[in-house]
Amino acid sequence: MLEIAGLHGFYGESHVLHGVDLSVRAGEVVTIVGRNGAGKTTTLRAVMGILQKRSGSIRVMGTETIKLPPERVARLGVGYVPEERGIFASLNVTENLMLPPTLAPGGMTTEEIYRLFPNLKDRAKSQGSKLTGGEQQMLAIARVLRTGAKFLLLDEPTEGLAPVIVQQIGRVLETIKERNLTVLLVEQNFRFAARVSDRHYVMESGKIIDAIGRSEIAGKMERLEEYLGV
C-alpha cells in the first residue's frame, strides 16, 4: 500500500527528513511514534505531497508519487486527516462532510457516518467554527471515510481531547479496521496507539530508528519509553 525509501524532506533551507524508510501493507494499521519535532507530521505531509521539497521514493499502491501534487496523490485513494483537523470555518458541518469528492466506490454512506458519529447529525447545520475539538476531530475523520479512500493518513487524532472522546475515536479506528482500510497513524499517545496498531515505527531526528511488531510491544515497553522520553 505504501513504500517509502530514502525519503528526504526540507522546510525552506532546513533539512527535516533524513532518509526515511517504512512500509505499510494493505489492511494494516501502522503507527509512527516519536517525540515532538521528530518528523512524524512532516512524513505524512511528504506522502500527501503537501511538503513539496522532498526526494527519494514514495510509492502509493504501486504508483511513484514523489513528483505528484497533492490532488493527484489524493486521487489514488488517499484520505488525509491533518493534525490541525482542517475544518472549514465558513462551511457548515454538512458542507464540510460533503466537501471532499468521492475517490472510489465503497465509501461510507451518510447514514453509516451519522450512526458512527451521532453528534455530527445533531450539529449538521452548525458552522465549522462552532464545533468543539472532539466534534472537529470526528468530522475530520468522517469526511475522509465518505470518499471511499482505501488508505488513511491520520495525524494525532487524539491530541488535546478528553479521555471519553479518545475512547470514541478508538472505536472509530476499530470500525475502520473492520472495513479493511489501511491506516498510517501518527500518535503521541502510545497507549492509544498500542491498542489499535499492528506495528509501530519509532522516529527520531527525521529517521526511523526502530520497528516494533504488535507481539513485541510488551517486551520492548521499557525501550519505547526511553525513545519517547516518558
Binding site: P70, E71, A74
Partner: protein, 289 residues
C-alpha cells in the same frame, strides 16, 4: 423638482450601481481566492465593451451574440494573464499583485488609446430593447430596465453559485485552506484560474451592458475603477453579498445626490468611504481579521 427627474436619476443610479456591483463582485471573488487586488478590473470592463464594439464593427456580430462572446473572450484573456503573469506573485506581498495588475491596466488601456483615441465609439441598442414605457411617474427606457434586471440576475446568480453549490463550496473552502482542498483531490490551481476568469468576465459583461448607454471609450475603465475600489472598501474586501448590496446602494446614493446637490455627486461615495473607514475599517460586510 419634478418626480420625473428624481426617478430618472434613481434609475441611472441603479444602472451605475449595477456596474459597480458586478465589478466589485468580480474583485471580491478574485481577492478571496487569489489574495490579489485586481487593479486591472476596469480594463476588463473596457475590454468587454470594446470587444462587443469590435465584433460588430469588423465582423457584423450583433449585441446578443456579443453578450455571450465578449465576456467569454475577456475570461480567456484574463485566464491567460493569470497563468502567465499573475500566478508568479501569489507568494509575495499583496502590494506586488496590486502593482502588477495596475501595470496591466495601464498597458491595456494605453493600447486602446493608441489605436482608437479617446473620443469614444457609439454602439447601438439591440433592436428589441429600443423604446420604452411611460409608467406615469416616469419614462422607463427598455434598455435601461434590461441592464438593471440582467445585472441583478448575474449578481445573485453568482452569489447563489458561491453560497449554495458544490463548486461554490470548493471555492469557499479553497479561500480558507487551499492546501487541504488540494489534499482532498481537487485541482486548486485550476480552480484559481477559473475564478479569475469568472471574476473578470463579470467586469466584461458589465462592459457589454454599458456599451449602448455610454460610448465605448478606452478610458471608461479608469473612470469606473476608482469608484469601484471605494465601493469595495465600503462593502468590505472579499465579501460577496457586501459587494452586490454596496454597489447598488452607492450607485443609488450617487444618483440621488445628483438630484439634490449635483456638486457633491462625484464625491459622495468617497465621503461614505471615509466615514465607514473611521467607524468600521473592515467595511460594512467585512470581518475583522
Amino acid at each position: 423638482m419634478s418626480a420625473t427627474a428624481l426617478f430618472g436619476q434613481l434609475l441611472l443610479g441603479l444602472i451605475n450601481g449595477s456596474f459597480y456591483a458586478m465589478l466589485s463582485l468580480g474583485l471580491a471573488i478574485i481577492f478571496g481566492l487569489l489574495a490579489i487586488v485586481n487593479a486591472a478590473q476596469g480594463a476588463f470592463y473596457m475590454l468587454g465593451a470594446f470587444i462587443a464594439w469590435m465584433l460588430f464593427q469588423y465582423l457584423g456580430i450583433g449585441y446578443w451574440a456579443s453578450f455571450v462572446l465578449a465576456p467569454l473572450a475577456v475570461a480567456i484573456i484574463g485566464m491567460i494573464l493569470e497563468r502567465t503573469l499573475i500566478r508568479r506573485v501569489y507568494n509575495l506581498d499583496h502590494l506586488y499583485g496590486l502593482l502588477l495588475t495596475l501595470g496591466l491596466f495601464q498597458i491595456i488601456q494605453g493600447m486602446f488609446v493608441h489605436w482608437y483615441g479617446t473620443s469614444g465609439q457609439p454602439y447601438d441598442y439591440p433592436d428589441i430593447l429600443t423604446g420604452g414605457h411611460n409608467l406615469g411617474f416616469m419614462f422607463l427606457p427598455t434598455y435601461r430596465a434590461w441592464v438593471v434586471v440582467a445585472s441583478l440576475i448575474f449578481c445573485f446568480g453568482t452569489w447563489y453559485a458561491i453560497e449554495k453549490t458544490r463548486l461554490g463550496a470548493y471555492l469557499r473552502a479553497a479561500t480558507e485552506n487551499p492546501t487541504l482542498v488540494r489534499a482532498f483531490g481537487i485541482n486548486v490551481p485550476m480552480l484559481v484560474t477559473l475564478a479569475f476568469g469568472g471574476g473578470v468576465a463579470l467586469a466584461g459583461l458589465a462592459g457589454v451592458l454599458a456599451a449602448p448607454i455610454y460610448q465605448v471609450n478606452p478610458l471608461m475603465g479608469g473612470n469606473i475603477l476608482t469608484t469601484v475600489f471605494a465601493v469595495v472598501v465600503v462593502g468590505g474586501f472579499g465579501s460577496i453579498l457586501g459587494a452586490i448590496v454596496t454597489g447598488l446602494a452607492l450607485g443609488v446614493l450617487e444618483g440621488f445626490s445628483k438630484v439634490f446637490y449635483p456638486e457633491a455627486s462625484n464625491m459622495v461615495i468617497f465621503a461614505v468611504m471615509i466615514v465607514v473607514l473611521m467607524i468600521k475599517p473592515a467595511g460594512l460586510f467585512g470581518r475583522e481579521r
